[in-house]
Structure formats: C-alpha cells, structure tokens
C-alpha cells in the first residue's frame, strides 16, 4: 500500500497508468490539456503529448462523436465532459450512436469508449455546476454506467472501463474529489463493472446508494446504530446494468429498503430500484421501499440555503431511515 490518495488523484493515476499500458488510449475534452478545473488530467499532456491529450473545441456532441468514430479504427477513447450539466448537447450522440451503433449494425461495428462526467452538487456551484443526471442514461441498454464512491473504486473502475469493450459513462462526484483519501494497492488492479459492494453489513435495513451519497449514508447508518438500528449500506458502483443479485440479496436479508440519492426523485434512479425490489422481493419486504432523494425541483438553486435545502445530508437521511425502521 502506498500513500493515501484522494479520489481525484486516483482518477488521475488510473489515466496515467492506462495511457502507459495502452498506446491507443487518448483523451478528448474541453480544457483538459492544462489539467482541467480540478486537475483531474494533470500531467497527462506533459507525459504523453498533445497528440494523445487533445483539447477539443467547445462542442460536446463532436467530443463524443469523434471518440466513437475513432474507436472503430482501433483507438481507445476517453472523453471528458467537463460538467455533467453540459452533457445535454452530447445526448444525441450518446443516445443515437454510442448506445445503438453496435446493436443496429448487429455487431458489425463495435464502438467502445469511456466518457468521464464530473457531476454533483453541494459545492456552491449553483444550477449548472451541480447536476447529477446519470438517471437520464439508465434507460439506455447499450450503455454501461459506473459511479465510484471511493478512491479505490475510482481507480479500479476507470481502469476496468479503459480495458473493457463497451461504451461506458463514468460519473465522478466533484464533492468527493478531495474529501476522502485512501491507501491504494501498489500493484495493478481493476474493479469489475457490474458488481455492487456492501460497504457496511447490517441486519435491520438496507440502504441502496452510490457515489457521494455513500458517505452520507454511512454517516447516517452510524447514527442509526446508536439508536439500535443496524443498517446495511450497498454501494451500487455500477448503475447500468444493475447488480440485481447483490441488491436483492440485501433486500431479502433486511426486509426494509431505502434508496438514497442526491438527484431529484421522480424518475430518479430510486424509481427503478424501488420497482425492482418490490417486483422481485415483495414477499420479503416488511415496508415499502423508501426513496430518500433530492426534491422534485428543476435544478439545484444557487443561494446557500436553497442549495442546503436541495442536498441530502445525514440528518435528512436519518429522518427517513427512522420512519422506515418504525414502519
């Protein structure tokens, strides 16, 4: 084990190592050659040259379109969407080409790429630097969506994507970038796509969550423990396809399930999780699946009290869990 590293450093390391390992990896995005707003891509251009670390024009569709095309002739593209909020101009390419090209050519063309997307709120970024919109993409088989919550996973999942053959959306929560550190193995490792992880074992209820909300959920679980309620925290890690086995195993074990996500509620990821759990584990449930989520308002507002109102925190999660435990 080496020095403890932050989540963003882990991402940076993964890129450095995969650039080294695979000469066909390249990075295309806005404002990345100098290291980017958060220094996620720090040092890549210096080390691997401007031919592999390309600042793109301000145009998300072509970032994704060009990467997809380049993957058809043997490149291994890594695209960066600077803020998740700005993925919308690229939605056309993601939905119509990335998610569907393999399918509609019956595998004749095999696009593969990884799109890193910096998302999430709680940093005073306001409306357009806080969106947490992975939900839009979960409706698209053909895509895979990963969303690490720890430095270890951040590195391991990014490496898995860069070695995989599919089209990956890799969401990274900016609030995690520098708020947690972890010692990482010296040796090469990956975290497999498609596998959830139990972050905390528990008996009385299950929390299904991912990304930054894992931290919040663990804090809430800690407090519930003191009230005598033992919470299991399942970190989904991959949102598409979901690790149904792990989700249902925990649901069946505890019989009470909460979903915790930062994004707004209606048609958020919690909708699918609740639908799935009640569908497959109905007889095991002692209470309805509870969604503890952001409010159904269009976008995270800027003013601090409004942002606080939007963001979940351990207090709000505990409130929900108490209700669930008492059901």
């Amino acid at each position: 084990m080496g020095q403890p590293v932050t989540y963003i450093k882990a991402i940076n390391q993964a890129m450095h190592e995969e650039f080294e390992r695979d000469p066909s990896v390249f990075l295309l995005g806005e404002d990345i050659a100098e290291g980017g707003v958060f220094l996620a891509t720090d040092g890549l251009r210096e080390k691997f040259g401007a031919e592999r670390v390309l600042d793109s024009p301000l145009a998300e569709a072509i970032i994704i379109g060009a990467c997809t095309g380049a993957s058809l002739v043997g490149m291994n593209p890594l695209a960066e969407i600077q803020f998740a909020d700005f993925i919308t101009p690229g939605v056309d390419q993601i939905m119509q080409n990335v998610a569907k090209l393999r399918y509609r050519s019956a595998g004749g063309f095999q696009p593969h790429l990884t799109i890193r997307v910096c998302c999430g709120g709680g940093v005073g970024g306001g409306l357009y630097h806080s969106q947490e919109n992975a939900a839009w993409f979960m409706h698209e088989p053909g895509l895979k969506i990963v969303y690490p919550s720890t430095p270890y996973d951040a590195k391991g999942l990014l490496k898995a994507c860069l070695r995989g053959k599919d089209c990956y959306l890799y969401f990274e929560h900016k609030k995690l970038y520098r708020s947690i550190k972890e010692e990482l193995p010296e040796e090469d490792y990956i975290v497999p796509v498609g596998k959830a992880k139990v972050r905390r074992e528990g008996r009385d209820l299950t929390i299904l969550t991912y990304g930054y909300m894992v931290q919040i959920s663990l804090a809430a679980a800690e407090r519930m423990e003191k009230q005598g309620v033992s919470c299991e925290v399942v970190d989904l890690r991959t949102l598409l396809p979901l690790d149904k086995e792990a989700i249902l195993a925990s649901a069946r074990k505890t019989s009470r399930v909460a979903v915790v996500h930062e994004d707004k509620r209606t048609m958020g990821i919690g909708a699918e999780l609740a639908a799935l759990v009640q569908e497959e584990a109905f007889e095991d449930l002692d209470a309805p699946v509870l969604r503890i989520t952001g409010p159904d308002i269009p976008i995270m507002p800027f003013s601090p009290p409004l942002e606080d109102y939007f963001m979940l925190n351990p207090d709000k999660v505990v409130q929900g869990l108490e209700k669930l435990a008492a059901y």
Partner: protein, 349 residues
Amino acid sequence: MTVQSGKKPSATATKTNRRKMTQPRNNKGAGLSQAQLLEMYHLLLKCRLVDERARVLFRQGKFKGNHYSAVGQEAVTVGTLYGCQPSDWVGPSHRDMVAALVKGVPVKLIMAQLYACVDSPDRGKSTPAHFGSPEHNIITPASTIAAQWQLVTGVALGLKMQKREGICFAYAGDGATSTGAWHEAVNFAGVHKLGIIYVIQNNLWAESVPLRLQTAAKNLADKAVGYGMPGVVVDGMDLLAVHKAAQEAVRRARAGQGPTLIECKTYRWYGHSEIDPARYRSQEEVAAWKKRDPIPLFEKQLAELGISAGSVKKQFEDEINREIEEAVAAAEASPYPDPAEAWDHIYAE
C-alpha cells in the same frame, strides 16, 4: 466489373482491380483511362438500375420502412467515390444506399438489407435506407441527420492518430447543413486537418422545405471558409466535374493537407421518399432537372472523348439486371432473423 480501381491502387486492392490505363483522346476525361471511364459509366447505370428496382419493390410491398431514392443524384455518388480504396471509409446519408455499389458492395447485400433478412449485414436490425457494411468500411448510419457526419469525422481522427492508411467520405444533404452536429464535425475536422471529404448533396429540398428556408447562404460551400478549409461548388449532374473536384480533395486528404467541403448541386427526381408525392415542386423545375440527367450527360462526354457508350450500354444493363434479379431472388429466399436475435449485440461483453 470491379470498382476499387483508383489511379493509385492501394496495397489492399486486388490485382483484378487494376486496369490498363488507356488515356482517352483528349484531357477532358479528368485523367482517366477509357477502361476507367467505362467503369464509371457502368457504376452510374448500376446506381440507377438498383435504385429504380428498389422503388418498384417498395411499391410492390416487398419491404417495409421506406425508400429514399437517389435517382438523379448518381453522378455525385459515383464521381466522389470512384477510385476510393478499400481502406477508405464512407459515412453515408439516408439517400446513399447505392453508394455502397461504388465501394464494391454486391447488389445481393443491398437487396438483403431491403428485405431485412438474415443475409443483410445487420441481420435485419436497421432500415433499408441505413445500409452499412463493416467489411467495406461503410458505417451503418443512424437516422438522426448528420449523426454519421460526426462518426466518420471520428474515424478520420482515428486513422490520423493511428497513422493508418485511408481517408473518409462523408455525405449529407442541404438540410443537414443546418444541424449543430454537422457544424461541430466540420469545424473539428478543420482544426485537426483530418483526411476527410465532406460532400453536400444539395438537391434544393429537405423533404418539402426549400433551400431558401434552410439557410440564407448563397452557396452551401461558402460555409467552408468558416471552418478554414476549401469549399468547392460543382455541378452535381456532371460526373467528370464532380470527379475532378473530388480527386483534388482526395489528393489533399491523402497528403495530410486536411478536409475539403464539396457542394454538389443536384436534384432528386422523385419525392423525398416513396410515400412523398412531392407536390411542393413545380413540374417545370422537375422537368428542367430531368433534362440534365447525369447519364445521357456522361454519354455525351464519353462520345466527345471518342468512347461510344451505346456499344456497351445494353451489355452493361443486362449484366447489372442479372445481378439485381439474382439478388432479389436470394433476398426473397432468405429467412427473417429469429425473434431471439433481438437480444444480440447490445453489449460486447
């Protein structure tokens, strides 16, 4: 009749692709040998006949979806793609089904596509208009206009990064030039000096929308200056003129000098699709353009070069019609995919 017989056959071009280079009598022939000129003529006829056959088949209810006829636009297709190499890539539009023929795709594959049977390259997944062939580097296009324009731009980027042989051809109509996807792609190629030829098939209409409601630009090729690349306007009915313009663009692309935007002024004889009676166009307009049919026009050019098209036309047509009928018969005989195939090819792993 083969098709990859460019002037500089690539390493991958087969021996049979090479033809004796007999220069025609004057230099109007765009530096092409008599054999090449006849080959282009053959392709022109082939595009026409396959397309017309597809129209009939659609009207007979032989296949679903729709057919977007390119009849009238063949000189653009043949003129730009003729001489391309197997290592070159094509990003076709919805109207470019017959472009595959110029890239060497047998009619059989195209008919299989129309019939959505297991013998089509995509095993019935995509619609007839969205023919692609991995083997021939023809990207299966999405229907969202200009989406393929972006993809093939990406291919050009990849080829450049890999220092791999091959250039790209992107096709789209006048309507497509209004899309953001189109703009982003061309701009990107300009920055990275990609080896790509952007071909605008300006047939004056996007469905029922006339060009004047599409853009206020005088020529669509005028847009090129905004991307720092040459823009060329060419008579899209004149096969040799198109080919000459394209060859200069191809030369630039192969030499690493970057992309070119070529606007071909052309016309589709029929409606936007087979279900469009196209009443929005005046009969005079249609008649005037039909007078400029690229086939007789090329026959005249051949005659001027001392080549008699008449002496081969019947033979070519027979050859082509035989291939078409065999292809139709094969498609008719080929089964639909099994419903379970709906689950194939979602993920690679």
